[in-house]
Amino acid sequence: MASPAIKQESTQPPDKNRHLSWLWSEYSVIIAFVVIFVLASLLNPRFLDVNNQLNILMQVSIIGIVALGMTIVMLSGGIDLSVGSVLALVGVVSILSLNATGSILLAILTAFSVGAFAGLLNGLMVAKGRIASFIATLGMMAGARSIALYIADGGSISGEVTSFTAIANSELWIIDYPIIIFLVMTSLVYVLMQKTRFGRYVYAIGSNEKAALLSTIRVDRVKIGVYSLAGLLVSVAAIIETSRLNSISSSSSGQAYELDAIAAVIIGGTRMTGGRGKVLGTFFGVLILGILNNMMNLMNVSPHLQGFVKGLIIIVAVVFQKRE
């Protein structure tokens, strides 16, 4: 029994170097965030302005909430390409419901049920239909967008109940509601993933699905839950998006949101194949994307070039994560 004992010794970080690499592998995204933050504040003095800071948070809140759901899906080993289209569909249907009933509560409930239902369908396709998540959600992406376009006749729909706009346009002290909702959602998802059975199961399935099944986890049910939850979080984002301008465009709302959300999750250090990653990582990933956008706007970089920078950051982030 000497050999395993020796092995154990060697897994201990004996020197400083190993300690640093541990710090880097666990918190690389936070370090990257700090570096970018400091860099941004040196490059442009206006960056540190409180209003600008709140502005960044406000701008990332919608993508941030979508990215939380994406994190759960990707931790389970899947991907959800349908988030942007589902967001548009949820927005369109909930505005219709709002205009028809005049009730904000009903509009919100409608939003939740449409989003969760779309997610449920994704989950059923992936878990029961054994369709690769990429394909299943690609189908949902096309389908949901098409239905949104059909219902809204290709255009935008505006709300007729003005108090609906209060959801996204009110402030608590100086902090906008969407920021608060984003922060609350982040903490809820964090608790769900770290402190509950569901979260543990999601990590297990993403890491080794067969072993998870043989550990008597109801893999199918957990997966259905994962996609439904992602759909539900898209509903929350859709309500904010719709309420902010009191209207939703069936053609352009939510366009390419899936890419931003996936980018944030990847920058946040979640592994593409699942099983490894952190909700907090995604939170900082979202903030990094937000700061980059903000900086480029402040420095008058052409909006056409902004995608290039974003792409570069994603690739650099993944290259660094591969190192470990």
């Binding site: 050999s3 395993p4 509950t196 543990r200 990590y203 043989l214």
Partner: protein, 504 residues
């Protein structure tokens, strides 16, 4: 005789996770001979051959081909030296055509870089005709029988003008008629000065076809010589060693009440008409060769695969099991084989791997209680002698034996009255093996009903009260421990003898 070797492997050492698998192993191969490489499962045969095939490097030792020392860096180097490896699990690509498989990786092309399809097809037909089979070179491999897939692998080796061919249990998937064809073919190859290393458990075949033999046990060479000079018993003794029968962990037991009763369980293509009964306090062993269906059988009983007919009764109640969770609720626990693929969740910590199947034990108001997980793990750490410095590390950082103990702890935490262990000591060192045997016996003494699946007969003999032998999906023998010995079990496992005697 000496100086005529096409291959000399000398003093090869190899360890995995610091567990030595090969110790000073040597193997010499003459030109134009069929050489049997013998040993029990886990003796190190495959490791030795994988080193020769360039799959992984040796830690120490030299390899000489035609008297010249060579470095086996990768499979390609090995192939270029004229060594072909026909694996037990067939390495053909089912979605490609026959000729595409034959030329995979060394396609013939014309000057424009386009494939010379007709030439490759012609060549394929030629080689296959030489083997006495006619297969359309343009047929998809998917549509062929297993035995033909095997022939394609052999044909591929011939195509590459291999001087040394390694065959790892080539006859397991073949019918008797096909085995004869293979043997004729091997004799032809021998006449053409090709050397063959033949790995098999079937001693009858060895006597029929092989010239010389080398026996491995626990990673060491324990014997080698001419097959004609030895009888089967002597070779078997070499394979098994003396240490086996000396040490039996299990004592006589008073059989308790009926825990698990399986009748007529059948799953098409996997197993047929399985009947057995398991009592509390009993350790029941299932053994057989590769492809005997025992793993599939218990994966079905555990709800991982579907069964087509038959019934499973737990403590007298018939239970429908379509999902592992239902098996657990019925009281069946299952420690699967191939730990890395089936049992450990490598991104979760040691703590979390222990608790994953019984999270309800660690919950309060819907939230997990890490402190309870910790204290429970420390209980198992003491009880099972798990060596881990910091259980917060992911489980893949542990050695094989300690990983397995964590997996056992997981099932002890679930605490089902019936426990199935599939190959519980796979890839772990002798010390940990002993501890696991002792634990299993101890569990039985506490009144648990236990089933062990293992291809290692000595292991089964050590710990089981009753032994079931399986052959191609059927139980061919049910033996009491006192009646069983390795030879007897091998006869049933290879299908050369069968009985259907019902006991218990």
């Amino acid at each position: 005789m000496s100086g005529n070797y096409v291959l000399e492997m000398e003093n090869i050492d190899k360890s995995f996770n610091r567990v030595p698998v090969l110790k000073q192993a040597s193997l010499c191969l003459e030109e134009g001979e069929i050489h049997a490489l013998l040993g029990e499962n886990g003796a190190g045969k495959s490791t030795l051959m994988n080193i020769l095939g360039g799959i992984f490097p040796a830690d120490k030792g030299t390899i000489k081909v035609n008297g010249k020392q060579v470095e086996m860096i990768d499979p390609r180097t090995s192939q270029q030296l004229g060594i072909s490896f026909i694996h037990q699990e067939l390495n053909v690509v089912a979605d490609l055509k026959v000729y595409e498989n034959m030329f995979l990786g060394r396609e013939r092309r014309n000057r424009l870089g386009l494939l010379k399809v007709e030439e490759m097809c012609r060549k394929t037909s030629e080689v296959l005709a030489g083997l006495g089979v006619e297969i359309d070179p343009k047929a998809y491999v998917r549509q062929l029988d297993a035995s033909y897939k095997q022939l394609i692998e052999i044909a591929k080796a011939l195509l590459q003008d291999s001087k040394i061919i390694i065959m790892d249990e080539p006859t397991t998937a073949l019918t008797e008629h096909e085995v004869h064809r293979l043997f004729t073919l091997m004799k032809n190859l021998k006449a053409a000065n090709v050397s063959i290393i033949y790995i098999s458990h079937k001693l009858k075949e060895i006597q029929e076809i092989c010239d010389r033999y080398t026996v491995l046990r626990d990673g060491k060479i324990v014997g080698s010589g001419r097959v004609a000079d030895q009888n089967v018993t002597a070779i078997t003794k070499m394979m098994v060693g003396k240490s086996v029968s000396e040490e039996r962990f299990v004592h006589n037991h008073a059989a308790g009440r009926k825990m698990l009763h399986v009748t007529g369980l059948t799953s098409a293509g996997r197993f047929r008409d399985i009947n057995f009964t398991l009592h509390a306090g009993e350790i029941l062993g299932f053994t057989g060769l590769a492809g005997d269906g025992r793993t599939e059988l218990f994966e079905s009983i555990f709800g991982f695969n579907k069964t087509s007919s038959g019934s499973i009764e737990v403590e007298g109640r018939s239970v429908p099991i379509n999902h592992p969770k239902q098996a657990l609720q019925a009281g069946i626990g299952f420690v699967p084989k191939d730990r890395k693929e089936n049992a450990i969740i490598k991104d979760l910590s040691v703590y979390h791997n222990m608790s994953i199947s019984a999270l309800s034990h660690f919950e309060r108001m819907g939230f997990l209680q890490p402190n309870q997980e910790k204290s429970r793990f420390h209980h198992f750490k003491e009880a099972l002698n798990i060596k881990v410095h910091d259980p917060k590390v992911t489980i893949d950082k542990l050695s094989g034996g300690n990983q397995q103990k964590v997996v056992l702890a997981k099932w002890l935490e679930v605490d089902t009255p019936i426990l199935v262990f599939d190959n519980p000591t796979q890839g772990i060192d002798i010390g940990a093996k002993r501890e696991i045997y002792q634990l299993i016996v101890q569990l039985a003494e506490q009144g648990k009903a236990i089933i062990i699946l293992s291809s290692e007969v000595p292991e089964i003999l050590k710990v089981c009260h009753t032994i079931h032998v399986m052959y191609q999906g059927e139980i061919t023998a049910k033996l009491k421990r006192d009646q069983a010995n390795e030879d007897e079990i091998m006869k049933y496992a290879t299908g050369s003898k069968r009985e259907v005697e019902h006991i218990g």
